[in-house]
Structures are given as structure tokens and as C-alpha cells.
Amino acid sequence: MMKPGVSASALGSSGLGSSGLGSSGLSSSGLGSSALSSVLEPRAVRTAEFAVDRVAAIHRCADVLEEIDAVQPAYREAMLARERVMSTYMGAGVAIPHGLDGSRALVKRDALAVLRLPGGVEWDGGRVTVCVAIAARGDGHIEMLAALAEILLDPVRARALREATDPHAIVAMIGSAGDQR
């Protein structure tokens, strides 16, 4: 039971005395114990996409983020501009397109979109088969990146993500990543 006047965000990880990967239900970003489970919906997972190049793939990512009303239309260009600054290819066949730092105001709510491209897309020297597009208003971006990075660092989990064809399975894989932090 929290004391009156103590906000959830103030407790964080250090306040609870558990600075490791413990079972604290509160994250410093305020997204809760499962950083990703609330930001990825099945309708934002598309498993049979095709794109001729990474620009086309990013356009499809923007399409989905707009369809779920997570971003304003101008976020699309922010994602393309961000890609021009530096490739969002993260290795393990996965790219994480997202808008530039200054584009947070274009995000209506934190959300992910996952696009699987079975044919693959050449991406700055790598080959991408899964795009995890990120829309974040604030520090949620950092927690999302952290959870995705943990998946990609594990070859077994990365492969499972690349090969999954069921949107609910993909939601479960990514949603549970936040639980393990």
C-alpha cells in the first residue's frame, strides 16, 4: 500500500531498494511492470507485408501507426528523416523505425507497430524481415528500446520473432519482454 502523496513514478527501482531485474511492478518510465504489453495491439501487427526498399517499409509502418490513431500524419516524415540521419537496423533481421527526437509532439499515444516482411528488405547493408515501428511521447521510448534490445540479443527469441506469423503470438513475445526487465 503506497503512502499518501507518494507517486508511483517516485518509487522507481531505487526507491524500492530493488535495483536489479526484480519483480518490482513499477518502472522508472511509469509504463508499469510490462513496458510493452500495453503499447502493442494485435491490430497493429501485420504479418504479410511487402516493401521494395526501406523507405517503402517505413511508409507502411507509418500507415499502420496512423491507422491505429497513435500518431499525427506528420510523424511519417519524422520517421523518414530519422532514417536519413542513421539507419534503424538493429541486427538480427529487425529494424526499429521511429521519429526524430523533436517529433514527440506528433505522437498521440505510445504505441508499437510490427510489420513482418517475409520477402525481406535490404536495409543499409542488412536484411530486414521484421520492422518494429516505435511511437513514443517521452521516456517510454527508452523502455521500449530496452525491451526490444533484450529480445534481439537472444538469438532464440530473435528468431522466434522473425518467424512468428500469428499476431497474438507476436504481441505475447514483445509484451512479455517488458516483464523480464
Binding site: 527501482s13 531505487s14 535495483s19 536489479g20 531485474l21 522508472s28 518510465s29 516524415e77 519524422a78 528523416a81 530519422r82 540521419v85 542513421m86 534503424t88 538493429m90 541486427g91 526499429i96 521511429h98 521519429g99 526524430l100 527526437d101 523533436g102 517529433s103 521516456d139 521510448h141 527508452i142 523502455e143 528500446l145 530496452a146 526490444l148 534490445a149 533484450e150 534481439l152 540479443l153 526487465r181
Partner: protein, 90 residues
């Protein structure tokens, strides 16, 4: 040898920042590890590993390196972590 470095960028240690740290660490003569609090240390030359730290502005990171080149390597990595570049405007 241990050295601390605090993330100053308002955007935190995001993908672009982590890439810069990893690139600098890869060029250092001594391998550098990074951790926060009592969590396991990760290699500073791995972008994905750095991202798992989930470092936001104000997060203090603990760097470690050994050997003759430890000090210069730690200085280099720390300076990149603490860099606060102007955000790129689109």
C-alpha cells in the same frame, strides 16, 4: 579501474546515442564495460547491450576497464556518454 558517467541528453541513451558510445568504445584500446546500480555489466561496444540499460537523462552509469589503457579508454567512453548534442531537427 572504475569511472562514472551521467547521461545528460534529454532524449536519454537512445539508439543514436548508443551507436555513438559503441563506436567510440570499439575504437578504444581497452575493453570497457558499463552497468547501472548493481545490475550486470554489459560491453560498451554493443549497441543493443547499451540499450538494455534503459538510461534516461540523469542516469548514472558505471564504467570499468583494466590494463595500461584503462584510463584513456574510460575517459573516451565517458565523454561520449555525457555528450549532450543538439537534437536533430527534421
Amino acid at each position: 579501474m572504475i569511472r562514472t558517467a551521467t547521461v545528460r541528453s534529454a532524449a536519454g541513451l537512445h539508439a543514436r546515442a548508443a551507436a555513438a558510445v559503441a563506436a567510440a568504445a570499439a575504437r578504444c584500446p581497452a575493453p570497457v564495460t558499463v552497468r547501472r546500480d548493481d545490475r550486470p555489466a554489459v560491453p560498451a561496444d554493443s549497441v543493443l547491450s547499451l540499450l538494455t540499460l534503459a538510461a534516461t537523462r540523469g542516469t548514472e552509469l558505471i564504467l570499468e576497464a583494466t590494463g595500461d589503457d584503462a584510463e584513456t579508454s574510460l575517459d573516451t567512453v565517458a565523454s561520449v556518454i555525457e555528450a549532450d548534442p543538439e537534437p536533430v531537427r527534421g
